[in-house]
Symmetry: C2
Amino acid sequence: MIIAETIAQVRAQVKEWKKQGLTVGLVPTMGYLHEGHASLVDKAVSMCDRVVASDFVNPTQFGPNEDLESYPRDFDRDCALLEGHGCSMVFHPSVEEMYAPDAATFVEILSDMPGQLCGKTRPIHFRGVCTVVSKLFNIVTPDKAFFGQKDAQQLAIIRRMVRDMSYGIEIVGCPIVREADGLAKSSRNTYLSAEERKAALVLSKAVFLGEKLVREGETDADKLVSEMKACIEAEKLAKIDYVSAVDAVTMESVHRIDRPVLVAMAVYIGKTRLIDNFLTEDCAK
Amino acid sequence: MIIAETIAQVRAQVKEWKKQGLTVGLVPTMGYLHEGHASLVDKAVSMCDRVVASDFVNPTQFGPNEDLESYPRDFDRDCALLEGHGCSMVFHPSVEEMYAPDAATFVEILSDMPGQLCGKTRPIHFRGVCTVVSKLFNIVTPDKAFFGQKDAQQLAIIRRMVRDMSYGIEIVGCPIVREADGLAKSSRNTYLSAEERKAALVLSKAVFLGEKLVREGETDADKLVSEMKACIEAEKLAKIDYVSAVDAVTMESVHRIDRPVLVAMAVYIGKTRLIDNFLTEDCAK
């Protein structure tokens, strides 16, 4: 596996691959990889001739009081995982390589969409995500790019950005990967104490409850959300940021489940903010 | 010459060219082409195997009280000019092809740069320019793109955007093309009455005066601007929007000509707003 630290190196390699007629898949990550990321690489390997993963903790998507400094990092372990899953190249740039000191250009969706759900408490987050993903698209020029359904709002926003900005890149969403007990895999799970790790199960418990209610025919989104909230509130270490039912494409609030709906949540377990979600479409499966 | 009205058609053709190992140049235009545009196509033809010109009056770069509706259009004449200069394909999309009804993603430089010069009276202009040029980059995926020095602030902003967004595209700036009497070629010259056409000469007159002063050793930017303003104010039909000396890269105001400086102006001749400029670097040539 090639380890590239510069934009120029990535461009040169991708140019070489394209000259050979090979297709290229991109898996953008912030590193500290787990089986969720591995599933994205697996999917990319199955659909593309060459796979580039980026491993970059992007500062522009962190707010001033968020966990940029403490975000977990382990590049050597990441490389082992990526290579083991058939990744062709990892792009691991410094912050200086990605952002000039006076960098000031941003890609932003100027609608209500990025202000919903996680955007309510993370106002600049999706601007940073759109900007860095655009840069990765421009550097790697992939045929397809792979994102996890775990970050459901991010996936919806990237799809919208790709459409609006006329990128000729297919966005492939991949299912949430869970621990054996149900907890959605996340790099931030490492922040949890043993006690918090147990309490964190309340997120997937609420997701499974919501899925069951939808499967049983519930179409009242407000009632669904209320029952899920009650489930989470029973856990003393949990503090709800939001539990919401929204249109799966536009992220607008819905009261009835009469179209594809995303039911998403963010919950603090102690100081750690975790997210989880399900799509009503997937409940019948 | 291929006439493409859809994004899909452009993508398919460019893919074919790239498969053959051919390089692609992009000349973005708003149509109603003149010899200034032709010089961009000539330059592109000299540097690239295939040249794509876009011909699209982009609504997102016009303010609510600007001339979007009245902006001159003549696609048949444009095609004749482009074909005559060796253009391989013209991309002539509808507004609907370029912008979904709920399109909301924009590329924007969040620094003082776009608010200088023309940005003072055209607050959303450069956001619209960055957005449509990004879309054209994403659709055409050119190796090089060609812009006129006539729109000096646009050229500086595009260079900054390309750097910040990590586009692997070389930006080639091309010199201003003038009428025999000095007036910079512009699609908007067509708005001028016979009397205004004569009065419009005051812009190039001020440019030539400024160039002469710099050549003679003037380094006081304020004095330079004052003399150019006095020259313009002598013309009764002219109303100055701005005459400014700015750093040629950052567009920040300068008082001394101690680095590459852009001396730029916007002047109303009747209701028509015209622009012209020179780079102090070019004065010695």
